[in-house]
């Protein structure tokens, strides 16, 4: 495969050594993990950070006057600082810890959404959304008597920008879109989409679950009103993510859940709410998870992210060319601007069978609808197989994938 070598130096082997799960065998074969878009593996630093919290300074946060609570609170808030500066938010109060992108979007829909969207209004999304950026808006529209409008994409899986712009009307009260599609790998022109909405005074919500592990995120430069992240896709723990929101919105929004932590004073007559971010973090949070998330951000910031991007682009080009050379294989999602995802169909073989046979070769891929059934419907398929790449994958992994696909032909003839 004659593709250019990566321009910047990125030492993938030293990165791989930091991920203990990768150094295993599955069915007696070296493990090839090509399912990072579902969830990424964890580096030692993340695993250690979570363990260290439980071993050395675990306590509840923002509550105790004692030493351990103080230590845990500092570490938890330090993690917020790290996430805040990683995504270019000017103020750590704009970062709310949530369970993940799904909870982030649900939070916006049920607070900001209910304030802004009324009967006859519209919420605009795109044709390539994950279920988590469809269903919360559908629920909101149903409650409010509003309409969910979908901006279409072309056969390559790219947003049709003029069609998107045409759907930005005076009825549009929120625009919510995915930064990088999990099913297709498409990188949406987020800055242009946000600018077009902003010109018309429409607030924007960006689902950044798949973007954060691959692209540098700068919410200030993007100018979005909200941006959501999942820690586990960024090499951090599960059950933790972040929601960025402009402070003016967070101040004006009603709380999401009621409980401890999110209050100033409570009486049976009236409760005064805390300021953001505490206002949106009712109950004891995922303390160790947040600290692990902070360690994942440190891990990413310790890398030359431009070199990582060049490395991943090379890997994607190599994988694309290799898959396209397989007879009877069709790539689904061939956007010009694309990240880390190779969704494909093999003529006459269902994605589940592809997944099972590759699994027996030690190769983990996702097979299914990728929580994006409307995307599958668009292409008229029930499911695809998806190999998704991360910074720890190699050309050898792609070669193994291609050899595994050869096995599929052996079985199915």
């Amino acid at each position: 495969m004659a593709t250019a070598e990566p321009k910047a130096v990125f030492d993938v082997e030293s990165v791989r050594r930091q991920f203990p799960a990768l150094a295993q065998e599955v069915y007696g074969k070296p493990f090839v993990y090509l399912d990072s878009a579902a969830s990424a593996q964890k580096p030692n630093a993340v695993i250690e950070a979570e363990m260290q919290c439980y071993r050395e300074y675990y306590s509840n946060v923002h509550r105790g006057v004692h030493y351990m609570s103080q230590k845990a609170t500092e570490a938890y808030e330090e993690a917020r600082d790290k996430v805040s500066s990683f995504i270019g938010s000017g103020c750590k109060r704009e970062v709310i810890f949530v369970r993940g992108t799904t909870e982030g979007i649900n939070l916006i829909a049920s607070t900001f959404g209910r304030q802004r969207v009324g009967a006859g209004d519209e919420v605009l999304i795109t044709a390539m959304e994950h279920h988590s950026n469809i269903v919360p808006w559908q629920m909101l529209c149903e409650q409010q008597g509003a309409k969910l409008v979908v901006a279409p994409m072309n056969q390559r899986g790219e947003l049709i920008f003029e069609e998107y712009e045409r759907r930005l009307t005076e009825r549009t009260k929120i625009v919510a879109f995915v930064h990088v599609s999990n099913a297709l790998g498409t990188i949406n022109p987020a800055a242009e989409m946000i600018a077009a909405a902003q010109e018309r005074g429409i607030p924007t919500v960006v689902d950044g679950a798949q973007a954060a592990p691959h692209l540098g995120i700068d919410v200030a430069a993007l100018g979005c009103d909200f941006y959501t992240l999942s820690g586990h896709k960024m090499f951090g723990p599960t059950g933790i993510g972040a929601l960025y929101g402009k402070l003016e919105h967070l101040i004006a929004m009603p709380p999401y859940q009621g409980g401890g932590e999110m209050i100033l004073t409570v009486s049976f007559d009236k409760t005064e709410y805390a300021e953001p971010p505490a206002k949106f973090e009712a109950g004891t949070p995922n303390i160790a998870g947040a600290i692990g998330f902070g360690a994942a951000v440190d891990f990413l910031r310790g890398l030359d992210l431009e070199a990582v991007a060049a490395y991943e682009a090379d890997l994607l080009a190599y994988g694309t060319a290799a898959l396209q050379a397989v007879p009877g294989l069709e790539l689904i999602g061939t956007a010009q601007h694309k990240a880390a995802v190779l969704s494909f169909l093999i003529d006459g073989v269902h994605a589940h069978d592809v997944g099972t046979i590759l699994d027996h070769e030690g190769i983990a891929v996702r097979a299914g609808h990728h929580c994006a059934q409307p995307v599958m419907d668009f292409y008229g398929v029930a499911a695809t197989a998806r190999a998704s790449l991360a910074l720890y994958n190699t050309r050898q992994d792609i070669d193994r994938l291609i050899a595994g696909i050869g096995q599929i032909r052996e079985v199915f003839g």
């Binding site: 069915y27 007696g28 073989v349 269902h350 994605a351 589940h352 069978d353 099972t356 046979i357 027996h360 097979a367 299914g368 609808h369 059934q373 599958m376 029930a382 499911a383 079985v411 199915f412 003839g413």
Partner: protein
């Protein structure tokens, strides 16, 4: 260690390539849709009955090799059987893949050709693929659900 050929036996591959009783049935007495939310696979089963006896059965839909072959082999196995016999076969089929060894041993002989699905038990995530058609048929026969689901 599990072996792939235990799962993809020749009979299964054959029924996947050339499913029997595939396509709609004219004037069915019962129909039901089956859905596996895990993968989005959908299946439709059509049944003609004479009293309690299955006289004709057809299926259509899309699915993996396991689900398609299972539906195909099921249609062959249940034709001419009473609904009570179908119920017994379904239980035996389910036991074959999920039961403990003694249950499996008892189930095997009742199933004839369907015993080729025994290998599926080594692939727990695929059990739902093999049972989707049966859940759908049960729904059609007993009309207890418009849409059968593996979940």
């Amino acid at each position: 260690m599990t072996v792939l050929t235990d799962l993809y036996q020749e009979v299964i591959l054959d029924h996947n390539r050339a499913p029997r009783n595939f396509g709609p049935l004219d004037h069915p007495d019962r129909t039901a849709n089956g859905h596996n939310p895990l993968c989005g696979d959908e299946l439709r089963v059509y049944v003609a009955l004479d009293g309690n006896t299955v006289t004709a059965i057809q299926f259509e839909g899309s699915g993996c090799a396991i689900s398609k072959a299972s539906a195909s082999l099921m249609t062959e196995a249940v034709k001419g059987k009473s609904t009570a016999e179908v119920d017994t076969m379904f239980r035996a089929f389910h036991d074959l893949m999920t039961g403990d060894p003694s249950v499996r041993e008892a189930a095997g002989p009742q199933l004839g050709k369907l015993a080729v699905f025994e290998g599926v038990r080594e692939f727990p995530i695929r059990v739902k693929c093999a049972t989707l058609a049966w859940h759908t048929l049960e729904a059609a026969l007993h009309e207890d659900a418009k849409v059968a689901s593996t979940e």
